[in-house]
Amino acid sequence: MKSCAQTISDYAFRAIGYGERLLPRSDFTVCEQFTLIGSGMIWNIYFGVIALCTGFFFAVALAVGKSSDRWIYRRPSELFIFLFRGSPLFIQFFFAYFFFLSLKKNYAFFDPLTAAWLGAVIVLFLNTAAYSAEIFYGALRSIPKGDTEAADAYGLTGWSRFRRIIFPTMMRLAWPAYTNEAIFLFHATALVFFSAFPARGQKGDALYYASYFADKTFNPFVPYPILAFYFILLTLVVIGIFGVVNRRLNRHLPQAARPKLRVRPNLIR
C-alpha cells in the first residue's frame, strides 16, 4: 500500500501523460480516486478555457452580424446559431469526429484534428460561440435607446461608436447570462471522451476516470461524489472570476444601481 503523497506524485499529472503509466488495478484507495479524478480536471479546464477565450470573439462577431440590417451578414449568423443551438452537442461531437476522420483519410495533414486536444476544442469553440452569440444578441437588442442616441449626439460613428458605447453596454447586460453559459460549457467538456474522441493512452478527463473507477469497483458512491466535488469547486471559481469582471463592467454605475452577479445561476443553458 503506497502512501498518499506517493500516489499524488505518481498520478497528479497522469491525465496529460506524466507519472506512472499504469492506472491502479485493484485495492483502490480514496486517495487514488481523488488524485486521478483531479488530474482529469486538467482536461476539463483546458477545454473550457480555450473554448471560452476563443469563442468569445467569434460570438461578438456573430451577435453583431445577427443584428445587422444587411441580410448578407444576418442570414449566415442566424443559420450558424440555429445549427449549433438546435442540435445536441453529443451528436455534434460524433459528427465532427467522423468528419475529421474522413478528412484525415484523404489528407494526412488533418491528423491532429482527430485527437481530442484539437478536434474537441474546435467543436466546443463553435458550440459556445453560438450559445454566447445568442446571449450577446439579446443584450444588444436591449441596450437602452438613450445610450445610442447620446452616442449619435456626440457624433460617434462606426467603430468608435461600437467600441466605446455599444460593446461595453452589451457586455454589461449580457454578463450574468454569459456566466451561466461559461458554467455549462465546463459541464459540457465532460462529454468529450464519452462521444467519439478516444482517450489515447488512458489520458482522459475527470469523468473518464470517475467512470473507470465506478466500472472497476462497481461502486458509484465514491468516484461520482468526488467528481461532483471538483465540479462544484470549478463552478465556484468560475463564478468568482466572472464576478470580478462583472464588478469592473458595472463600476461606472451608482452603488445602488450596480447589479450583483446572481450567485444562483440558472440550471439550464
Partner: protein, 295 residues
C-alpha cells in the same frame, strides 16, 4: 424488402440505395427513433410531476420539507448532467437489487459488497438472469426513464418554483381576503396562474430534454446513436450484401438534421402555446397582444 433486392451487386445506385435503406437492421434503426420519441413522451410528464413535487416542497412552511425540496433543486446544480446519468444507472440498479435482496433472501449472510463486487442472491437479480431478452431491454429503458426524470425533475422544479414565486403577491392576498385556506389558495389561484410565468422556462427545458436524448446511448440502450455507429461502420462484402466504406459521418449528419428539424418544430409549436396562454394575462406579453389586436 423489394423483389429486385435479391442480388444487390447487380443494381444501379438508386435501386441499391432503396434496398440498402430498407434492410432489417435499418428497420431497427428507424424503430430506435420511435424509442427516442417514446422516452420523451414518458419522461416529460414524469419529470414535470417530479418538478411539481419538488417545487411544492420547496415552498413548504415546514423547514425539513422545504430543505428537501431546495436540496433536490440544488443537487443538480454545479455538476454535469452526464455525471448524474452515469451515476444513477448503477446506483438505481444496485438499490433495486438490494431492496429485493432484503425481501427475497433474508437468510443470506454473506456481505453484499465483497471487495470490487456487488453480490446479491441469484433470486434477487433484477431482472432475473433467466428472463427473456426483452425484459432486460425494458428494464434498461425503465432505468433510463427514471434517471432522466430525476435529473430533469430537478430542472423543472427550479422553473416551477420560479413560476410560483412570480405570481403577483396581490393575487394570493386577495384569495386570503376571501377566506380561502392555504390549500385552496394554492390550487385555485396560484397553480392556474403560474403556468404563464413558467412556460418560457419549461419550453427551454423541453429543448434541453430533446437535446439530452442522445445520452441514452451512454446508458447502454440501443438508441439512434448506437445504430448510427453500427450501421455506418465499414462493411466488407464478406459479411454484408451491401458493402460500403465508413459512412458514419453521413449517419450522424442525418441525426443532426433529425434533431434540428425536431427542435424547429417544437419551437414553432411552443410559440403558439405561449401566445394562447398570454391571451388576457396581466403580463407584458399579454399587453403586447392587446395592443396588436386593438391597433
Amino acid at each position: 424488402m423489394f423483389s429486385y433486392c435479391t442480388d444487390p451487386s447487380t443494381l444501379d445506385t438508386f435501386r441499391w440505395l432503396t434496398c440498402y435503406l430498407t434492410t432489417g437492421v435499418h428497420m431497427s434503426f428507424y424503430k430506435s427513433f420511435l424509442l427516442v420519441l417514446a422516452l420523451l413522451a414518458v419522461t416529460a410528464p414524469v419529470a414535470l410531476s417530479f418538478g411539481f413535487l419538488g417545487a411544492m416542497s420547496a415552498r413548504s412552511p415546514v423547514a425539513p420539507v422545504s430543505w428537501l425540496g431546495k436540496g433536490y433543486i440544488a443537487i443538480v446544480r454545479g455538476v454535469p448532467d452526464i455525471a448524474f446519468f452515469l451515476f444513477f444507472v448503477i446506483a438505481l440498479d444496485q438499490s433495486f437489487e438490494l431492496i429485493k435482496h432484503n425481501i427475497v433472501c433474508s437468510d443470506w449472510t454473506d456481505p453484499i459488497r465483497q471487495g470490487n463486487d456487488f453480490l446479491v442472491c441469484p433470486q434477487a437479480k433484477v431482472p432475473l438472469g433467466t428472463s427473456p431478452e426483452y425484459v432486460h431491454q425494458l428494464y434498461g429503458f425503465l432505468l433510463a426513464v427514471i434517471t432522466f426524470a430525476i435529473v430533469f425533475g430537478a430542472f423543472a422544479a427550479n422553473v416551477l418554483y420560479g413560476g410560483m414565486q412570480a405570481v403577483p403577491r396581490a393575487q394570493l392576498e386577495t384569495a386570503e381576503a376571501y377566506g380561502m385556506t392555504r390549500r385552496q389558495t394554492f390550487w385555485r389561484v396560484l397553480v392556474p396562474q403560474m403556468w404563464v410565468f413558467a412556460l418560457p422556462g419549461l419550453s427551454n427545458l423541453w429543448m434541453v430534454l430533446i437535446k439530452a436524448t442522445p445520452l441514452l446511448f451512454l446508458l447502454g440502450i440501443e438508441d439512434i446513436v448506437y445504430w448510427a455507429r453500427e450501421l455506418g461502420g465499414t462493411k466488407t462484402s464478406k459479411f454484408s450484401a451491401y458493402p460500403h466504406p465508413d459512412w458514419r459521418m453521413w449517419y450522424f449528419l442525418f441525426l443532426l438534421i433529425f434533431y434540428l428539424s425536431f427542435t424547429k418544430v417544437s419551437e414553432v409549436v411552443l410559440e403558439r402555446v405561449m401566445r394562447r396562454l398570454n391571451k388576457g394575462q396581466a403580463t407584458s406579453g399579454g399587453e403586447a397582444m392587446r395592443k396588436e389586436t386593438s391597433a
